[in-house]
């Protein structure tokens, strides 16, 4: 319809706008699914403005619709709602802006939401993100606990109060953010990245109180699940009530039933630990003491054994031996001496008995030659020979005189 544009013959803005509007207008109707990021009703204006966000990619498109469509009974359109929109791409020439002109808005049903979550769950499970081998053990008593939760929420209070009561030394690195609505998943992901990058944070808790399936929807967000899987720091989730299961619960290293339960999981109970340590300490002391006492008794029993306790007994028997031997030897010697004395007595008696003394006493005499030989025959001696005569009173020397006696 118009001639091609050139530097010499440029198109006016209206021509361009009309051409773009014509082209977009030919696109026809589409069905779009997304999440309501923003919703604005301006006073009693007939047109409602929405921002429809893609839950996975970071982009959105503006949507406009008539008030009657947005306020249709049963729809209950709010920010964060998942919706399916029937719309016609529209170019508003007055401002050069693009939007989708909605002719019908349907809320995504609960069953539909759950089915979608289930599909994501199966996808991620197939990737192995929920595998037990991926679960990391929690530190025993972390110095710093990262906490991602709504500001001043009951969940925050439950985690902080319970953890501090159990382990007073615990410190927290807080990340308060939206935990429902269209920004929740992205905010929580930001918090995870920030806390995971902090080397002092030893464990991260993601806590949120109970809510409707729609409220908890950000916690089944695929991006958030992947962010948790990518964390190097162990993550504990406590989202919703015990019966609510969100996908983050599957990927977390520990799933706590409630924020209070999470506090129980992340820090030990100090009193219990003290009692445990005290109990072990007492047992050790008793064992060592008993062992020591047993050894002391043993030593005492050894030291009181006669061989050690009274060494004089070692000598005792020996002294006896010695005394006995001494007595025996003395007795033997005495015995011998006495025997000798008796022998001597006998000999002396015999000598006395055999002695010529008694005979001499009676007046006999013994005559001996010079060499001591007894003279028994006068013929044995010569004349003038000197002889010795022994009488009882003593000896006397004589000379033989033949003339005096018979031959």
């Amino acid at each position: 319809m118009s001639a091609p544009s050139s530097p010499e013959a440029p198109w006016p803005v209206r021509t361009v706008a009309r051409k773009v509007a014509d082209w977009i207008g030919r696109l026809g109707e589409v069905w779009v699914e997304g999440q309501v990021a923003q919703l604005s009703r301006r006073g009693n204006a007939a047109t409602v403005f929405l921002t429809l966000r893609d839950p996975v990619a970071d982009l959105s498109v503006p949507v406009t619709c008539h008030r009657d469509i947005a306020d249709r009974p049963g729809l209950e359109l709010t920010e964060g709602s998942r919706v399916i929109v029937r719309a016609r791409p529209d170019y508003y020439v007055a401002r050069g802006s693009f939007s989708l002109r909605a002719t019908e808005i349907r809320a995504v049903g609960l069953g539909e939401l759950l089915a979608r979550i289930e599909r994501i769950r199966q996808l991620l499970a197939a990737e192995g993100l929920f595998d037990a081998v991926r679960k990391r053990p929690l530190p025993f008593a972390p110095a710093v606990v990262g906490v991602i939760t709504g500001r001043d929420s009951a969940a925050e209070r439950d985690v902080l109060v319970t953890a501090r009561r159990r382990w007073p030394a615990v410190r927290f690195a807080m990340h308060n953010c939206a935990v429902q609505g269209p920004q929740a998943a992205a905010n929580v992901i930001d918090g995870l990245r920030r806390l995971d990058a902090d080397a002092t944070v030893e464990v991260i808790v993601v806590a949120r109180g109970g809510g409707s399936v729609e409220d908890l929807l950000p916690f089944s967000d695929e991006g958030l699940v992947r962010a948790i899987a990518a964390c190097r720091t162990p993550v504990v989730t406590a989202v919703g009530h015990e019966t609510d299961t969100t996908l983050v619960d599957h990927v977390a290293d520990v799933r706590a039933a409630t924020p209070t339960d999470a506090a129980h999981r992340i820090v030990p109970e100090i009193g219990e630990q003290r009692r445990l340590v005290e109990g072990l300490r007492n047992r050790a002391r008793h064992l060592v003491t008993a062992r020591l006492e047993q050894q002391e008794r043993w030593l005492e029993s050894v030291r009181t054994r006669p061989v050690l306790a009274s060494p004089d007994r070692l000598l005792h028997g020996r002294a006896d031996d010695f005394a006995q031997l001494r007595t025996r030897s003395r007795r033997t010697v005495v015995h011998r001496v006495e025997g000798a004395e008796r022998d001597l007595e006998h000999a002396r008696a015999r000598v006395t008995a055999l002695s010529p003394a008694a005979t001499l006493e009676r007046g006999y005499a013994v005559v001996q030659r010079a060499d001591g030989a007894l003279v028994r025959d006068p013929a044995e001696v010569g004349d003038g020979e000197r002889l010795r005569v022994r009488v009882s009173g003593g000896r006397l020397a004589v000379v033989v005189d033949r003339e005096d006696g018979e031959p």
């Binding site: 005290e278 050894v302 061989v307 050690l308 070692l314 000598l315 020996r318």
Partner: protein, 73 residues
């Protein structure tokens, strides 16, 4: 083994002293020794008994030194 008169406190453990002491007593009780031998053995036994006592006393002291000092149970 019955080397007498040497101070081997730093190197002899309680268990070594105890074992040797038991052996000394056993030999003394078995008899058949010369007087000099039995006296030497007895002296060694005394020495070992003192050594054992020393170790046990030390153990007691260390136990007492490590006594619980915190007030709460």
């Amino acid at each position: 083994m019955s080397s007498t008169g040497q101070t081997d406190e730093p190197t002899t453990t309680y268990e070594q002293a105890r074992e040797e002491l038991a052996d000394v007593v056993r030999r003394l009780e078995a008899g058949g020794l010369t007087l000099e031998e039995s006296l030497a053995l007895w002296e060694r036994g005394e020495e070992l008994a003192k050594l054992c006592q020393h170790w046990l006393d030390r153990a007691r002291e260390r136990l007492a030194a490590a006594a619980p000092d915190d007030a709460d149970g």
